[in-house]
């Protein structure tokens, strides 16, 4: 295996070679995918350039937190063309991380000392340091992407109760550590959320979308009923801030039944729905997402996403995959060619039913079951992004709900910026 990996590394194209080979694909999206694949570290000079009064250096997320103990660090990066790069230091990967450095007064991504591209740090929202009336810092209630407000109303996933959480996911580990180290609660209070959103909206031009995601809550009369109730409560609290019933928003949730979806849609102002398949292959779904597979099943999870289109509308429903996790071993595809073919074929079935597929870049995070594995080559991610983008073109599917400006974590939907 070690020899195989060495050979694979030697035959992988470099960033420059991939940009040259795929000259019709945005070089910025390619850089982004590679930075996400390899992650970043920061030079001392770059860290000194992060100003806690200007930049976002403190955030509490469902998968990771930054600056909880005043150990401030840039939360993420933005490129000159407006694309975000959501990444943070992971130094256990096969490929060395990029280095963000400050050179001649500007911040650059560098690789082995060579300049790759100029970057900026994300800016801090005005609400960041304010407190809710219950005394909670608002940065612990919501986090700001460049144009999106993220709220994670429930930070634990109950598929982990029996050890059946998704194998790539560190949500359970992150929550347990966060609870232990800084007493992070699992659930947000609706009034805290209402007040934080109210404060966030006072900053003109700062946000275009509100996104909520949470770990799966399995309890209730029907599976996920309690998760549905939680979203309704929090979305209604958010909705009190708007003069219209509907407001640009997205929930990334479990695969709810038609009855549950209708209940959420009718009782809240939410406009779009995402439920992540994670991996587009039934056999791998069983091994990568054992909890989802056992309690709902691949076919039913998929059917429920298709059914959501009838409620939310075409272009308002999508599914996310952890791009590259289909090559995780044991059991995953052993060639990138086979993995790509299978994934895009299945993504086409989703597109035919009015559902977009977007991918993030699989990083074998410490704390996940797959932490010691390797993610695929950069070329794989470019071909995956191109394939998913072309499916949207073929089936005339809008990705406004999850585009570069809303989410910013999908190299494939970055490509949709060009008509």
């Amino acid at each position: 295996m070690a020899v195989e990996l060495l050979n694979k590394k030697q035959t992988e194209l470099t960033l420059k070679e991939v940009i040259e080979k795929y000259s019709d694909i945005s070089p910025y999206a390619i850089i982004k995918a590679d930075v996400q694949r390899r992650t970043v570290v920061y030079s001392e000079r770059a860290l000194e350039a992060a100003d806690k009064n200007i930049h976002q250096v403190q955030a509490r997320g469902i998968f990771a937190s930054v600056g909880e103990k005043h150990d401030y660090m840039p939360v993420s990066l933005i490129l000159r063309d407006g694309l975000s790069i959501l990444t943070g230091p992971v130094t256990t990967l096969r490929n060395a991380p990029y280095v963000v450095d400050k050179i001649d007064g500007k911040l650059y991504l560098t690789d082995s000392g060579e300049l790759v591209e100029e970057v900026e740090y994300w800016y801090k929202p005005d609400f960041q340091d304010k407190l809710t009336s219950s005394g909670k810092p608002m940065w612990q209630i919501a986090t700001a992407r460049p144009q999106r407000l993220d709220i994670d109303p429930y930070s634990y996933c109950h598929f982990w109760d029996k050890g059946d959480g998704c194998r790539f996911c560190n949500m359970g580990a992150n929550f347990n550590r966060s609870k232990r180290e800084f007493n992070k609660p699992a659930r947000l209070d609706a009034e805290d959320v209402y007040e934080t959103v109210r404060e966030a909206l006072k900053q003109p031009g700062r946000f275009t979308n509100i996104k909520m995601t949470a770990g799966s809550i399995l309890s209730g009369e029907e599976i996920f009923d309690d998760e549905v109730e939680m979203y309704i409560e929090i979305l209604q609290a958010v909705g009190r801030n708007f003069k219209t019933k509907r407001f640009p928003s997205q929930i990334i949730a479990s695969a709810f039944s038609e009855k549950q979806l209708a209940r959420i849609y009718e009782n809240t102002g939410v406009m779009s729905f995402t439920s992540d398949m994670e991996v587009l292959n039934e056999k791998l779904f069983a091994s990568v997402c054992p909890g989802k597979s056992k309690l709902v099943g691949y076919k039913e999870w998929k059917r429920r996403i298709f059914a959501a289109v009838d409620i939310f509308g075409r272009g308002f429903v999508n599914t996310g995959i952890v791009g590259g996790v289909e090559t995780a071993q044991p059991g995953g595809f052993t060639t990138e060619e086979d993995a790509l073919k299978a994934t895009l074929e299945e993504a086409e079935d989703f597109a035919q039913h009015g559902v977009s597929t977007v991918h993030c870049v699989w990083v074998p995070y410490p704390g996940s079951v797959f932490q010691n594995q390797n993610n695929p080559s950069l070329e794989y991610y470019v071909r995956l992004s191109k394939g998913l983008y072309e499916l949207r073109k073929k089936y005339d599917l809008s990705i406004d709900m999850d585009n570069y400006r809303r989410c910013g974590n999908h190299p494939d939907s970055d490509l949709d910026r060009v008509l």
Binding site: D24, S26, P27, Y28, I78, R80, D81, G82, E120, W122, Y123, P146, Q147, Q203, P204, G205, R206, D400, R405, R417, V418, L419
Partner: protein
Amino acid sequence: MAIRLEKDIIELVEEDKAVKVLATTDKDGVPHVVFKGSLNIDRDGNLIYLELLESSRTNSNLVNSIWFNKKVAVSVKSEDGRSVQIKGIPVKCHITGPVFEHYYKIISRRIQDADLAAVWVIEPEEIREETYKIRKAEEEKNHPLLLHLDRLAK
């Protein structure tokens, strides 16, 4: 290569009554030309274009330009007939941050229902005088053979 705009050009672009046109091309090279009154100059001497429609053809073409290093052209004509063309390259797209919010407030005051999508920074690389009188004089000096004979007839 970036150039600095002279004071008279900056004043021309900033003139309230000047007609300003932005020409971009899509990924297949198809041109798209539109009147853009919001074109202006920033403190660094770059052209600033405020995009109000995120899914517009111009915005898409500007993304295409910054990704693949394709030039755009701006033509400006003043009330008194002076006209220049500036060719440049988009170097930055602000969709967030202090620059974006600065222009968001300005455009919100100017146009009530406007929703700013992006602030584009276009670095000028070439200026071409397009005022007819000046171009005509250049033509006669540099190409004395290019004219109809009837215009010289007794």
